[in-house]
């Protein structure tokens, strides 16, 4: 029988175990333990299942990254919640509750320096509120309210705990608004109004270089750029939607899911000049924890937590781009 060495003039390396997938791209080897040829591949970005959230909720707040995430509040069937959970990429762990039970809320920042702003609680009058709280990695403390938005939820929120940007939203009254505010870690200051009066816009980036797209009503694809002072026309997304997840910065962003008004599984990434469709979520949904707004993760590693499918769900998905894999070579 012909051998590989006889044909090619050299042998395939034999390894007792596979090398790390990130270090094996383009390599071919024989796994002597498995008795199989293997090859290292580099695939397109994709969503995989993550560890299920401890409860089925939607409209919760979120902040952080794929391996250091914080999720709080939201609605379960019949009530608003104050529970807060940390995620380390594998396990959800309960931490101290928020002071106010809140839904339709928005978040920004990190697991150790997060800000939750706006939302609603049906026991309040009016039900929408501009209540803000800061999380320091251990507990929540009340922060100054945004007096520019007296009674508003579904805000597009991005930036950091000491340099945040609040974009438009929905409240009662007057309904959908275009008001925008900046947060300096202590106080909120009114800034240029969003050019399109919308709720639940997708917002990414930092206070001086932000991008906001989509939103409703009506559902739109248009996007706008913020430079720390004013808004200008930006690049449109491919699928008009609201209330999905987002992350990244103004030159490397990502949005996923949302309502069109039916739930969508579409994911789009942004390079600073155009939006491109990439791998779909496995489960179409809106009102995720990482949605209607937070700086949750990046364009290459992100997290979609809970949401409505249309029923409230506890499912989690993790985005990675690219996808490294060691695959078995099938010989036929």
């Amino acid at each position: 029988m012909a051998t590989y060495k006889g044909i090619q003039g050299y042998t395939v390396q034999s390894l007792s175990s596979d090398p790390p997938a990130t270090q094996a791209v383009g390599q071919l080897w024989y796994n002597s333990t498995a008795g199989a040829f293997k090859v290292g591949t580099l695939g397109a970005g994709a969503w995989s299942s993550g560890t299920n959230f401890p409860a089925s909720v939607n409209q919760s707040g979120g902040a952080g990254t794929q391996t250091t995430f914080l999720a709080w509040g939201g609605s379960d069937p019949g009530d608003q919640r104050d529970e807060t959970f940390k995620y380390d990429g594998t396990t959800w762990t309960a931490t101290n509750d928020r002071n106010l039970k809140i839904s339709g809320t928005s978040g920004l920042g990190t697991q150790t320096a997060a800000l939750g702003a706006g939302g609603y609680n049906v026991s309040l009058t009016p039900v929408y509120t501009n209540a803000c709280e800061e999380f320091d990695g251990t507990s929540w403390a009340t922060a100054n309210v945004d007096s520019n938005k007296p009674s508003v939820g579904y805000i597009g929120l991005t930036g950091t705990q000491t340099a945040g940007l609040s974009v438009a939203g929905y409240g009662s009254p007057p309904g959908v608004i275009s008001v925008c505010s900046e947060y300096d870690g202590t106080n909120w200051t009114s800034t240029a109004a969003y050019p399109s009066t919308k709720s639940s816009v997708f917002s990414i980036g930092i206070q001086t270089a932000a991008v906001a797209v989509g939103g409703a009503p009506p559902f739109q694809t248009a996007g706008f750029d913020y430079d720390g002072t004013s808004w200008s026309a930006g690049d449109a997304i491919n699928t008009a939607r609201e209330a999905g997840g987002q992350g990244g910065i103004s030159t490397a962003g990502i949005i996923f899911g949302g309502a069109t008004p039916s739930m969508t599984d579409k994911t789009e990434k942004y390079d600073g000049s155009s939006w491109t469709e990439v791998g779909d979520l496995a489960t179409a949904r809106s009102l995720m924890s990482s949605g209607s707004s937070s700086v949750s993760g990046t364009q290459t590693a992100n997290l979609a937590v809970t949401g409505g499918t249309p029923s409230k769900t506890n499912v989690v998905e993790e985005w990675n781009d690219p996808v490294y894999a060691n695959k078995t070579v099938t010989v036929s």
Binding site: V122, Y128, A259, G279, T283, V323
Partner: protein, 94 residues
Amino acid sequence: MANTYCTATNFGKGFFTHEDRNDFYLSGHAGDVWVVGNNAAGVSWINRVTGTAKTKADAQAIVDGKIEEAQVSYDAESAEYKAMHSRPVKYILP
């Protein structure tokens, strides 16, 4: 036939991987219904997650039932909620 259908409970991490997503079509729907690309990798995944095979009609009926439940829940929501969210609608599985 481009797709096959099953029910399976999403147990979390490892239920479907990034590789799975690149190897076959997969979409999840209400009622633990999964639409799976009908190739070797997709069939292997159904076996791996102990999925229960369904006809498209049966899978569609499960999803429709769950959407009807969601419609009932929506109808019971407050006016504030309804002002911000659309009533769930039925759709055809791919």
